[in-house]
Each structure stands twice: as structure tokens, then as C-alpha cells.
């Protein structure tokens, strides 16, 4: 049986929280859709770290499985997101989410 070495889980979770918040901050602030997508990845990574941290804390493999699934999902989102960015680019639209405001009100 292996005990957890190094910092307690809470520290990991702190990092996870910071990542999640940073990612959210990126989504809220950045206008370039590519960077927004990257920020979303950061958010998901934060969540993943939390899952794995908890998984270790509980000694339960479910969290790791979940994290793996999230990776796949994140990859899927990226694919679709990048596809959209490419399609928009092909329409000669400036890549700025603030310009995407024809739908509003």
C-alpha cells in the first residue's frame, strides 16, 4: 500500500481551482476565438486535476476514468471549435468574438 507523498490533496485542488478560474477568466476576457478555445481547455484541465486529485484522495479509480473521458471530450470540442474557426476564416470574417454580434437584442 502506498501513502500519498508530498503535499496533501488540498494543494492540488488549489492548483485545480486556479486553473479553472484562469481558464474562465480567459473566456471572459479574450476576443480571439482560438485563445478562447485554449482557455476552455485550461478550464477542463483544472477540472481534470480536481478529478484525479479526488480519485487519489478516495483511492477510487472512477475519477481517473472520468478524466480520460473528459480528455476525449475536450479533443472533440477542439475539433469542432477549430472547424468553426476555419469555416469563419474562410468567410473572411475577422477572428474576434466581439465582431460576432449580429445576433443580439
Amino acid at each position: 500500500m502506498i501513502a500519498l507523498l508530498g503535499p496533501e490533496i488540498a494543494w492540488y485542488l488549489g492548483v485545480a481551482a486556479f486553473l479553472f478560474a484562469t481558464g474562465a477568466f480567459g473566456v471572459l476576457l479574450r476576443r480571439n476565438p482560438l485563445i478562447v478555445l485554449l482557455s476552455l481547455e485550461i478550464m477542463l484541465n483544472g477540472a481534470n486535476l480536481a478529478l484525479i486529485g479526488f480519485s487519489r484522495n478516495l483511492g477510487d479509480g472512477g475519477g481517473q476514468i472520468f478524466a480520460l473521458a473528459v480528455m476525449a471530450v475536450a479533443a472533440s470540442e477542439v475539433v469542432v471549435g477549430l472547424g468553426l474557426v476555419v469555416a469563419l476564416n474562410r468567410k473572411r470574417i475577422t477572428l474576434d468574438v466581439d465582431r460576432l454580434n449580429t445576433l443580439r437584442g
Binding site: 474562465a24 476576443r31 468574438v97 460576432l100 454580434n101 445576433l103 443580439r104 437584442g105
Partner: protein
């Protein structure tokens, strides 16, 4: 007997409906004859009822026939019922009889009018309404008849509806009468509350004096309005806008006397409320004086007669108010005769002068229309109460009864009545002299056209003749010092509560004859012989010409405030508060919507911010509240 009463009641209604439905399928003349014959049938029914009553003993002369329950509310209910008793039969005979004559007269008078059929339908409707009023077996039907005569009166006054004055007069009459209806209705509500019934019998019940006073006041309100007594009298002179036979029928012979009938019919409650009865008598006295005074300065032939009507009804009110019911009813009957006669002769004059009513343009008609003159003279003498004409017999006994009532109030009434007699003589003969005496004026010479010898003339002349005869002999059926069949007949319904002594009778007769003759004499001196100049007192003249400013006062007190209030509500409440507030609320809501929609910036970052904020708030609340 009871069937006679129903025939009497319904035949004019049938005629009215037939004329309405028949429309142009009916010739104009046929409509006239239909209406007349329905009145004749009604009269026959009334006679049948009269004869039927005669076959019963005096104490057994009251029959109520109910067709069906007319109205009900919980335990209260009233039938569609007619009463046959001496009082109602008495009135039926007058209404159907005089009414029939006047309708007959109308055939001539209205000949050639555009809408004769409508006229006769209205007339028949009126006769029906009046019969309903006098025959109704309970108070609510009485009120129904009361309102129906008001309606027919409205229709007939406004018959010439293209005349704005006629329309206005009709409306005024109706509204004034509606006020009376309303007070009467309130009295009936109180009766329902107290006795849960509107049969006439309930009036004899044991009421507290407040209740009795209120009920009596309510009924008096109705009576005053219908009979054009002060203070609800202003409609009557204006009502002369209607065709002259209408004035004769409604505003002289029948409808306006309904107030008297009402008081007599409901005397039980007035006897429980003597103060209100005194008010009735006092109003009657006031009216007879005021009307007599105003009549002195009127220049419209029909208005003079109208004011004389008010004045005469004042006498009846005095009689009814002091409890001398048979005398009041007797005067009602004789008044019906001679006042109808006066109006109809006036109608002939107007007819002959192509609808001119201003007496200042008339004169000297005695030479041109002597028979009319004689008829008018008979009517005038009967009105003033000169022996042996009808008015003499009836009016004087009212004065005697006032004297018999005694007390200061009784003597005041008596004095007022006597003064009224003088005024009556004065204004009646002023009219007679101005219209008939002297030389024919230029206007008369130009416009006068005598009656022919056709149906028109006959239907004008024959009723006048009959009424003339009745005005002479009609009074003889009762001469109170010696014989009084009217009183005996009405005994079981309305026992008089005053019985004048013989000296009171004779004193009144003598004084009133004297004063009447004095009045005639003064009139002769001023208008007949022109011996004395017309006295001119500017303020009095003005006051009288403005009819004591009643119209102006009512206008300022009621009509103008009502209009002002209505306009204020329309502009100050309805528009800004009711109509606009809804719209404003709607607009504000939409504006709010605009604000909400503006939060929808179209920027994806804002949307994310909203979510993040939502999460932050939700989470912190959860953690804190647990």
C-alpha cells in the same frame, strides 16, 4: 264586471299594437277610428264595471282580479291584477270617456298630419297606460302605469320631433316624471322591507311614524311630479309643445290629475302621516297661487290654460291633503270636463289660425267663430266656478273642507284657495277677452279660415259640444250642502276625514263666487273694456315672466352640475386615469422589455460572464446557507 274592467284596460292596448303592426296597411283615418273605437269599447267596459258594482251592496264593492303573478322576489310577489272598486271605476269612466272624446276630436285636429298613425298609436297607448294606472290592483302596477303614462306623455309631447323645443320639452317632462317615479319606487322599497307586499292593503298596516312619513313622502314625490305641483311643476308649461288634443287629454283631463288619484288611493298612509298630508295640501295651495300669478302674464293661449291646470290641481291637492277625498275626486272629474273643453276650443282656435298660439296676435274671434266663443265661455265660467257651471260645485266644497279642517293651517289654505279664485277669474277672462273680444286683428283677418262641414269639422265639433254640455251639467250630480252621491259612492274606498258644516259651505260658496266675479270684472275692466291700463310693475312682471325663476334655479342647481360633473369625469377621470393609465402601463412594460433585451449584447463574453456570476452567487449562497 271584472271582465268589463279587463276589456276596458286592454282594448286601447290592442288598438295601439294593431296600429303599430298594421303600419301603412292601415289608412290614416282608419287608425283614428280604430283608436277612437277602442276608447269607446273601453268606456263600455267601464260602464259595465260600474253597473256591475251597482248590483253589489256598498260594503261589498271591491274586486281584485289577478291574471298571473307579474313579479316576484323570494316571498314578495305581486300579481298582474286589476282592482274594480268605486274609485277605480270612477276614474275609468272619466279616463275612457273623456279620453274617447279627445281621441275622436283628434281625428279632426290631426287630419293631414304626416304621421297620423303614430299619433293614434301613441294616444291609444296613453289611454291604456292611464287605465292601467287607475285600474292597477297593487302599488307596483300603479307605478308601472305611472311610468307608462310618463312614457306616452313623452312620446306625445315630442310628437313633432323635428321641433327642437318639442323634443326638449318631452325630455324634460320625462325626466321630471322619472324623479317622481324614483321617489315613489323608494317608498315602495320601504314598504317591501316593512310589509313584504305591495297590495293596497299593506298601506293600512301598523307602521312607525318615521316609516309612514317616509312612505308618504315618497308617494307624494311621485304625485307632485306627475301633477306638476311645486317644486316639480316646470315641465307642464313646456309640455304644451305637443299637439293640442294631447294637452287636453294628458295635461289637463287625465294624467296630471293622477297625483290626486294616488293620494286618494293611498290615503291610508297619508292618514298615518298627517304632516306629509299637510305638506301635500300646502304644496297644492302654493301651486294654485303661483300658477295663477304666472298665468297672468303668459301670452301663449295653451300655456295660460296649462297654468290654470296647475292651479286647479292645486285645489285638488288641497282637498286630498286635508282629507276631503270625494271633493278632490269630484273636482278632478269636473275639471276633466271643462279643462278638456277649454283646450279643445283653444285647439279649434289654433287650428283656425293655422297653428298660431300667441294671443297677442289674436282678437275679435267672437265675430268670426261664435260657436267656439260660446264653448270657450262655458269652459271659462266653469273654470272660474260660476254658478251653475261645473266648477262651481266642486271647487267650493274643497274650500269649505279647508275651512272645516280648521286651525291656522286650514284657514291659510282656505284663504289661498279664495285668492286663487280671484286669480282664476282674472287670467281666464283675460284670455277670453284678448282672444275673442275686440276687433279682429290683422293677423286674424289674414289667417282665419272657418271650419268646413266635413268629417274633420264634425269630429272637432261634436266632442266639444258634448264636453260643453258636461261642463254645464256635470257639476250638478253633487251639491254638497244638499246632495252628495259622489261622496257616497266613494265612501267605502276613501272616507273623508273632514266634513264641513253647513255654514262653512255657504260662506265658501258666497266668497268664492264673489271673488271669481271680481276677477272677471277686473279682467273686463282691463282687457275687455280697456277701462284700466294694464298695471306694470317691472320686477313683478319679470319674475312672473320667468315663472319665478324655477327653470333657471333647477338649471343651476341640478342640470348644470350634472353636465359639469359628467364632463369632468370624461376629461378628468376617464381619459387620463382609465384610458391612458392602461396604455402607460403597457408602454412602461415594453420599455422594461427593451432594457432587458439590451442586456443581450450579442457578445459571447458577456454571456459567459452572466454564467460565471450566476455560479458564483449560487455557490456562495449555498455554502453560507447550507
Amino acid at each position: 264586471m271584472v271582465w268589463g274592467a279587463w276589456i276596458c284596460l286592454l282594448s286601447p292596448l290592442v288598438a295601439a299594437c294593431a296600429i303599430t303592426v298594421g303600419g301603412t296597411h292601415l289608412s290614416r283615418r282608419a287608425a283614428g277610428w280604430l283608436a277612437t273605437s277602442s276608447c269607446v269599447v273601453a268606456f263600455a267596459g267601464a260602464v259595465a264595471s260600474f253597473v256591475g258594482l251597482l248590483t253589489h251592496t256598498a260594503s261589498d264593492r271591491q274586486f281584485i282580479s289577478t291574471a298571473w303573478t307579474w313579479i316576484s322576489g323570494g316571498r314578495y310577489q305581486s300579481g298582474l291584477s286589476v282592482i274594480v272598486d268605486p274609485l277605480s271605476v270612477f276614474m275609468m269612466l272619466i279616463v275612457a270617456g273623456v279620453g274617447g272624446l279627445i281621441v275622436w276630436y283628434s281625428i279632426g285636429y290631426m287630419d293631414g298630419d304626416d304621421e297620423e298613425r303614430r299619433y293614434f298609436a301613441y294616444m291609444a297607448l296613453f289611454v291604456f297606460s292611464m287605465l292601467l294606472l287607475v285600474q292597477s290592483g297593487n302599488l307596483i302596477l300603479l307605478l308601472a302605469g305611472w311610468g307608462m303614462v310618463g312614457l306616452s306623455s313623452y312620446l306625445l309631447i315630442g310628437y313633432w320631433h323635428q321641433r327642437p323645443t318639442a323634443v326638449a320639452a318631452a325630455k324634460k317632462a320625462f325626466v321630471m316624471n322619472a324623479i317622481g317615479d324614483a321617489t315613489m319606487a323608494l317608498a315602495l322599497f320601504l314598504l317591501i322591507q316593512q310589509g313584504n307586499s305591495l297590495e293596497f292593503g299593506v298601506l293600512g298596516g301598523d307602521f312607525s311614524s318615521t316609516v309612514a312619513n317616509l312612505v308618504a313622502l315618497g308617494l307624494l314625490g311621485g304625485a307632485v311630479a306627475k301633477s306638476a305641483q311645486i317644486p316639480l311643476h316646470t315641465w307642464l308649461p313646456d309640455a304644451m309643445e305637443g299637439p293640442t288634443p294631447v294637452s287636453a287629454l294628458i295635461h289637463a283631463a287625465t294624467m296630471v290629475t293622477a297625483g290626486v288619484y294616488l293620494i286618494v288611493r293611498t290615503h291610508a298612509i297619508f292618514e298615518q302621516a298627517p304632516k306629509v298630508a299637510d305638506v301635500a295640501a300646502g304644496l297644492g295651495a302654493a301651486t294654485l297661487l303661483v300658477a295663477g300669478l304666472i298665468a297672468l302674464v303668459q301670452v301663449d293661449i295653451k300655456r295660460v290654460i296649462a297654468y290654470s291646470t296647475m292651479s286647479q290641481i292645486g285645489y285638488m291637492f288641497v282637498g286630498a291633503g286635508i282629507g276631503s277625498y270625494p271633493n278632490a275626486m269630484f273636482h278632478l272629474m269636473t275639471h276633466a270636463f271643462f279643462k278638456a273643453l277649454l283646450f279643445m276650443t283653444a285647439g279649434i282656435v289654433i287650428h283656425a289660425l293655422t297653428d298660431e298660439q300667441d294671443i297677442r296676435k289674436m282678437g275679435g274671434l267672437r265675430q268670426l267663430a261664435p260657436k267656439t266663443y260660446w264653448a270657450f265661455l262655458v269652459g271659462s265660467l266653469a273654470l272660474v266656478g260660476i254658478f251653475p257651471f261645473a266648477g262651481f260645485f266642486s271647487k267650493d266644497s274643497i274650500l269649505a273642507a279647508a275651512m272645516a279642517k280648521g286651525g291656522a293651517f286650514g284657514y291659510i289654505l282656505w284663504a289661498a284657495g279664495l285668492a286663487g279664485t280671484f286669480l282664476t277669474g282674472l287670467y281666464t277672462f283675460r284670455l277670453l277677452f284678448v282672444v275673442f273680444w275686440g276687433e279682429p286683428s290683422a293677423f286674424v283677418r289674414e289667417h282665419f279660415h272657418p271650419l268646413g262641414r266635413d268629417v274633420v269639422a264634425f269630429s272637432l265639433a261634436i266632442p266639444v259640444g258634448i264636453l260643453g254640455v258636461l261642463s254645464v251639467v256635470g257639476g250638478w250630480i253633487q251639491f254638497s250642502p244638499w246632495w252628495h252621491p259622489v261622496e257616497t259612492w266613494l265612501q267605502t274606498v276613501a272616507e273623508p276625514i273632514v266634513s264641513p258644516a253647513s255654514w262653512q259651505e255657504w260662506t265658501s260658496i258666497a266668497l268664492s263666487l264673489l271673488l271669481g266675479l271680481t276677477g272677471i270684472g277686473v279682467a273686463w275692466a282691463i282687457y275687455g273694456a280697456h277701462r284700466v291700463a294694464v298695471p306694470r310693475i317691472a320686477w313683478a312682471q319679470r319674475t312672473l315672466e320667468h315663472k319665478f325663476y324655477f327653470d333657471e334655479a333647477y338649471d343651476a342647481l341640478f342640470y348644470a352640475p350634472a353636465v359639469f360633473l359628467a364632463n369632468f369625469l370624461r376629461r378628468g377621470v376617464e381619459q387620463p386615469l382609465i384610458a391612458d393609465s392602461g396604455r402607460d402601463l403597457g408602454d412602461d412594460t415594453r420599455d422594461l422589455g427593451g432594457i432587458v433585451a439590451r442586456a443581450q449584447t450579442g457578445l459571447v463574453r458577456t454571456y459567459a460572464l452572466a454564467i460565471a456570476t450566476g455560479v458564483a452567487v449560487l455557490a456562495i449562497v449555498f455554502v453560507i446557507v447550507k
